[in-house]
């Protein structure tokens, strides 16, 4: 579905060159839940921004269904890859009601006819488990989990094929986190989606993703099936990362490398 070939990207800050990504090669298949794991500064968000076309890579190319993606892409392409951000507090415009937040992508991409926005927004909210009376509310009056649900509904509005989830639950409490993650899995099944799941939380990855890439300082440390990587991590870095996860049961500790 998405192929990433030899992507490199560097940023120049004053006279310092920071290599954010170097020679990244990945292949994401249809219906994958592909996790990108790494600590802060490892380049995972930069990679997502390149796939989305927010940044232009220095070298290499991104292919989507065998077509090369460029930075200035058509509406049609933008519609197919959507994004859910980390912080539910800042991802929604505080001056707009939930209705206008979700209706905006519908208008831009002309998903439904002019007089059917309201019904469509209602439908989208129902997908994420929110009632239709949320439409007239402002983001301030919502809890963190509810805001993240709205962000997911907005991403679903354009009927995408791929959703990039950048730490979608790291700002949420565990009970809310499990609800949102289960919701994401239900939606994935229902709409046949491909997820690119960016996170630093390896326990979440173990339970949600079928493929993982571990990144460290802009390079790929290891990539493969989730089960394989958790059972026999090859690189030392992955081992350190798995060992460092705070656990709550003895059984979990036993599975650490």
């Amino acid at each position: 579905m998405i192929k990433i070939r030899d992507i490199s990207k560097q940023f120049t800050i004053k006279n310092n060159v920071v290599k954010a990504l170097s020679n990244i090669n990945l292949e994401i298949l249809e219906r994958d839940c592909f996790a990108i794991v790494g600590e802060s500064g490892s380049g995972k968000t930069t990679l997502a921004n390149i796939i989305l076309g927010i940044y232009q890579q220095d070298e290499g190319e991104v292919l989507f269904e065998n077509k090369i993606l460029i930075k200035n892409r058509s509406l049609q392409l933008r519609k197919l890859i959507q994004f859910v951000q980390q912080n539910p507090m800042s991802t929604l415009n505080p001056k707009k009601t939930i209705y206008s937040t979700i209706a905006l992508p519908l208008k831009i991409h002309k998903i439904v006819e002019n007089n059917k926005y309201k019904e469509k927004v209602e439908e989208l909210l129902s997908f994420v488990g929110l009632e239709s009376n949320f439409m007239d509310r402002y983001p301030d009056t919502l809890s963190g989990g509810q805001k993240q649900r709205v962000a997911i509904a907005r991403a679903l509005a354009t009927e995408p094929k791929v959703i990039i989830l950048d730490e979608p639950t790291s700002a949420l409490d565990v009970i809310v986190q499990s609800k949102v993650l289960n919701l994401l899995l239900d939606i994935k099944k229902k709409f046949d989606l491909t997820y690119i799941f960016i996170t630093h939380d390896l326990s979440v990855v173990k339970n949600i993703a079928n493929k993982v890439v571990v990144m460290n300082k802009g390079k790929i440390e290891e990539t493969g099936d989730t089960i394989e990587i958790f059972q026999n991590p090859k690189s030392e870095y992955t081992k350190t990362l798995i060992r460092a996860i705070p656990t709550v049961t003895d059984e979990e500790d036993a599975t650490k490398p």
Partner: protein, 287 residues
């Protein structure tokens, strides 16, 4: 003399707001002994952070109503004057906040901030303060303390800044360290280093720690005794192994169950028809 360091009795806190009164803490009881490591766990909005603020006397706005007792070393803290509190903060009780970069003042160099803390412990010259801080930083495996001392907070990485903050909190060997989500903003590997560091430093000075966190994994790694707080009510109290092996309160159970497990294969499903946990009485494990 008893070993009791801090005891909180029937502590109540409410904020008077435009919409009405908001009850944040509802008669909580909490005890810490000397050198003990206690965790207060809860989700956002459960009242865990305001508890630390009350202990340090940082909630004095006009709309704050507090009731109950906070007894630290046989001394009542709840209505102490700010002048008295100044003597206690940093010397007897110190605090580590969640975001180390935000906890440090961005316009002063680290050495100037250390000087302020050192002055708190008694008269000291700038040079002595510098040397004292360098020595302390060396102990927390910062290899080039001179450079760190001459830096501004934004020039440090998150892990480095947190080490500086922990050192600063511990430099006057306080009796009690309040750690409000000390490792939440850090990566897992750095988080472990920060926890180890706190563990080592507090052992040397026999400092008690009240760890405030939402992360059960961190609790399991660090604490000896656990209090679980839910919407301003303590719902469970016990030693670490009691709480983790046999959670007695349905909320604790739900909390532990919701955490994705490293040996799991799916995201845990949370029961939507859960009871109102705050109405279920507190579960205290036998001592």
């Amino acid at each position: 003399m008893s070993n009791k360091l801090l005891s909180i009795k029937n502590l109540e806190l409410s904020f008077k707001m435009y919409e009405g009164t908001l009850n944040v803490l509802k008669k909580i009881n909490l005890e810490l002994e000397k050198g003990e490591k206690v965790a207060l766990v809860g989700e956002s909005g459960s009242g865990k952070s305001v508890t630390t603020k009350l202990i340090l006397g940082l909630l004095n706005q006009r709309n704050v109503f507090k009731n109950g007792n906070i007894i630290f070393k046989d001394r009542e803290l709840i209505n102490l004057s700010q002048r008295e509190f100044k003597k206690i903060r940093g010397n007897n009780i110190s605090i580590i906040f969640q975001d180390p970069i935000a906890a440090l003042n961005p316009v002063f160099k680290i050495k100037e901030q250390f000087f302020e803390v050192n002055c708190n412990g008694g008269k000291i010259s700038k040079k002595d303060s510098f040397d004292k801080a360098c020595e302390a930083l060396l102990k927390v495996s910062i290899r080039d303390p001179e450079r760190v001392m001459e830096s501004y907070p934004f020039q440090l990485s998150g892990g480095m800044a947190q080490r500086v903050v922990i050192t600063m909190a511990m430099i006057n060997s306080p009796d009690l360290l309040l750690a409000d989500e000390p490792s939440t903003a850090l990566d897992v590997t750095v988080q472990n280093q920060a926890l180890d560091l706190m563990d080592d430093l507090t052992k040397v000075t026999n400092t008690a720690v009240l760890l405030i966190t939402h992360n059960m994994g961190v609790v399991r790694r660090f604490a000896e005794k656990v209090y679980v707080i839910y919407r301003g009510v303590i719902v469970e109290e016990g030693t670490k192994s009691q709480v983790f092996k046999n959670p007695g309160h349905p909320y604790t159970e739900a909390l532990l169950q919701s955490i994705p497990k490293l040996n799991g294969t799916r995201i845990p499903i949370h029961n939507d028809n859960a009871p109102n946990y705050a109405e279920i009485p507190k579960f205290t494990h036998p001592k």
